[in-house]
Symmetry: C2
Subunit: 350 residues, 2 copies
């Protein structure tokens, strides 16, 4: 069975502002090393898979081609979304364009996987079930009561290492999260999936027919140039904006989960990057032109001015040419307050 990676690069999050911008979102930034998150994601797909399909914001087409070229990955297709419609329409585009019996390995472009071998083993575990028509999710075994993720409850085995996905839970409160982690049956929903293209299309037909209709029309009337595929904008605009979880996974009959521990992080905040990123002896994660003097347990990054800190602790300092953010470590979710304040005055720094 051919496994076709589908890399979703539609995100334009602001949680890593001011480094992430509309024009250069998180997946296009080098956050944990020399390679960008997209490059690392693409690099992982070379382990015996077919060339990947990329689904991306049309505005990023050139940068994505450039970054893939740097790491020597030639995609099977670069599907350029005419509008942002969340993950269900994005994944449906790939499914409609792929061979019906292809196994689509859907993954976000901006997640860190520090143990790629564990990831590949989990994909091998999932493949037989996906081949039988199961929609397989990969559930991250939780190591803390995280309230920022959704959880999936695993039920009875359906194949070796593959369990029925009994229930999808939204982001819980902390008491609930603690109970979920303690019972050993719940796993984080990382938005990574394996399924046959035709199985996904059938599930869409049953549970989200408006998504399927719009996407099929957009694909039928597509244009393109080289590897770029441009779905018809008017048709695609009719698709509702809806996640694959809401549209399909929480509703379909044959949904399974493969639990996996693979050093996963979605690097959903500056605090998360401090946690997973390399650190100096004083616990500082620094990147760019930074001089940290007598400073400890800080995250300090710049792609603009030199940043010099003296005698600070537990701070996040992010500098770019046009914006500097300073927030205590442990409070990096408050970047959204900064983003809101900037939006209120025009938001040119976003």
């Amino acid at each position: 069975m051919t496994i076709v990676p589908v890399i979703l690069s539609g995100g334009s999050g602001t949680r890593l502002w001011p480094l992430s911008r509309a024009a250069r979102p998180k997946q296009l930034l080098p956050l944990t090393g020399d390679q960008t998150m997209l490059q690392m994601t693409a690099d992982r797909t070379r382990a015996g898979f077919a060339p990947p399909m990329i689904v991306a914001n049309a505005a990023h087409a050139h940068e994505i081609e450039h970054q893939l070229g740097e790491v020597g990955v030639t995609p099977a297709a670069l599907i350029l979304e005419p509008a942002a419609r969340n993950t269900a329409p994005a994944i449906a585009l790939a499914a409609a364009l792929a061979a019906p019996d292809a196994l689509l390995l859907v993954m976000p472009s901006d997640h860190l996987i520090r143990d790629p071998d564990a990831f590949l083993a989990a994909v091998r575990t999932a493949a037989p079930a996906a081949g039988q028509g199961w929609l397989v999710t990969f559930g991250i075994t939780p190591d803390r009561p995280e309230i920022g993720y959704g959880y999936i409850r695993a039920g009875d085995p359906v194949l070796p290492g593959v369990l029925r996905a009994e229930r999808f839970l939204e982001k819980p409160d902390v008491v609930t999260a603690e109970a979920l982690v303690a019972d050993g049956r719940h796993h984080w929903n990382a938005g990574i999936f394996l399924f046959r293209a035709d199985a996904l299309l059938a599930a869409l037909a049953g549970h989200a027919p408006d998504v399927l209709r719009a996407v099929q029309a957009a694909v039928a009337a597509r244009s393109g140039e080289g590897l770029r595929i441009l779905p018809d904008p008017d048709s695609f605009a009719a698709a509702p904006s809806i996640s694959i979880d809401y549209a399909v996974m929480e509703k379909a009959e044959r949904v399974a989960i493969v639990p996996v521990s693979m050093g996963w992080s979605d690097i959903g905040s500056w605090d998360a990057l401090h946690e997973v990123g390399g650190k100096d002896a004083a616990g500082n994660h620094v990147a760019g032109d930074v001089i940290a003097i007598d400073s400890s347990n800080c995250l300090i990054r710049t792609d603009g001015p030199a940043v010099i800190t003296v005698g600070i602790q537990d701070l996040i300092v992010i500098a770019t040419r046009d914006a500097v953010l300073v927030v205590p470590r442990g409070e990096s979710q408050r970047v959204k307050q900064a983003v809101e304040a900037l939006k209120a005055r025009g938001g040119k720094e976003l």
Copy 2:
């Protein structure tokens, strides 16, 4: 008697780095309001004095003329030092060029005086003594045991409000400073003076003849254009680099002090600026494109990128186009560690 202000603009300090630079030192920056420190200093000299003489670094001539023009002050002369030689040669240049019987009111260009009326009253108090040939210093009545300044001990009265200056003390340790403040006889040496030009030249002849000789030669061979006076570089280079305190004040016979409380600050650090600068309800002093969210008791300034802080306390954040400094409030003297680190790698941000 004509009182001729002599404004010393030779400083190129780094204590307010990264805002102060070699090309734009503290006196040329607007630190406490819309006007630069030089502009505020020049503005004060309009209260019944003759037009000021400015002694400055030749590299700043154009900027100084521009800034003085903005506040409508036309100097009597702009004396451009061919090299930096500390205050004794700088003041000697002005004394050698002034009328012998002029009273020179020497003042740094980068000090804040929040009560200019008290300053003017002190000058009026000092004038009779200066007219009699006393070298008069203005001593700031201390309000705290500051270890960053020199102190002057006041002795017996020589004229109303004018006391003999008994002793000059270098920057003390904190125990000594507490004793000096407690005894009520010691005042901060602010580097502000009033004396006859010929009295200063006579004191130089007695106590620093090498300074006088070099300066007189430099003045004799001067060139100039408009209000600009260019002392001869080769002659001036022969002057030792020495402060007026070491060269004259600590040695001369007839040195007096007029104690004064005039809301004085030399704004010698970011902490000092936080202390004297305007603050919002949360105790933040901000300037430039700053958004301070849930932040308190901070000093946040930028003349480059927008600075957004969320949830921070007691921090100093200074941003420019090419450098950002972050240091805890109360530790701003540590900016010198940042400056040293930058020097070690080339110092282009200085």
